[in-house]
Subunit: 124 residues, 2 copies
Amino acid sequence: MERRKTQSTEEILSTLKDTDFALSHKMIQQRLSIEVDRATIYRVLNRFLEDGIVHRVISENGKQYFALCEDCERNDHHHNHFHFRCNKCGKVECLAREVDIQLPAGYTAENINSLVTGICASCR
Amino acid sequence: MERRKTQSTEEILSTLKDTDFALSHKMIQQRLSIEVDRATIYRVLNRFLEDGIVHRVISENGKQYFALCEDCERNDHHHNHFHFRCNKCGKVECLAREVDIQLPAGYTAENINSLVTGICASCR
DNA sequence: GTAACTGCAAAATATTTGCATCCTT
DNA sequence: AAGGATGCAAATATTTTGCAGTTAC
């Protein structure tokens, strides 16, 4: 399936580029300079996910957050870093420090979703 | 608020005790030997959460999974361990190994939700 | 008896999907 | 022209809530 360059796609991508933290669907919609349908945003984001352009964190509120894969533009698309969500300002950030997860024998990892919640430095 | 001993509560608790992995709301409902309303199950689980009897993992499918706090019955109710969800059998387990998360300066952690998905030993 | 708990229905929230139409290539 | 992308509405899915009736203590 070939990907086409559309206004929605470009807008959503540049919105993600403009922020250094992860955005929820709603946050993305609010930041767009044009109106894009809810469903379209989800579809674009899911396409980005498939293409490995963004990664997704699920917060403990059950919501999805999306962020560009800055560091992970290399081939091995591993996201073994933590995310942090501030309970005050709501920002979801990618924590730089990588974590090596040691699984029990015979287990293989495919995806890692890890989120720490608390208070960030600027909020306290 | 005082807690009362009811059939639903006892049933849900013993269901959780009978399994060594985390259960979703639906899985719990199916395992109960009596019929308990959807909303009641959620309310019971949330009470358990408040009381620190269970802990909750959010899977990357957005669903909540609940498991008894075996190891965490001590005072400091920290859940800095990983969870693993098998993409084949769907089991969500608590991985024994503790992980120390190093946050940037000024950050304080309140809750940790970490889930690795992949294939477990018995499924491959 | 009183406050906690329950069931039922309805609401709230988040995400996906069907389908006709539009637009990129 | 072909098929990928979009908008709209409707469907799913999960969890929560209001409220009246029930039950534990």
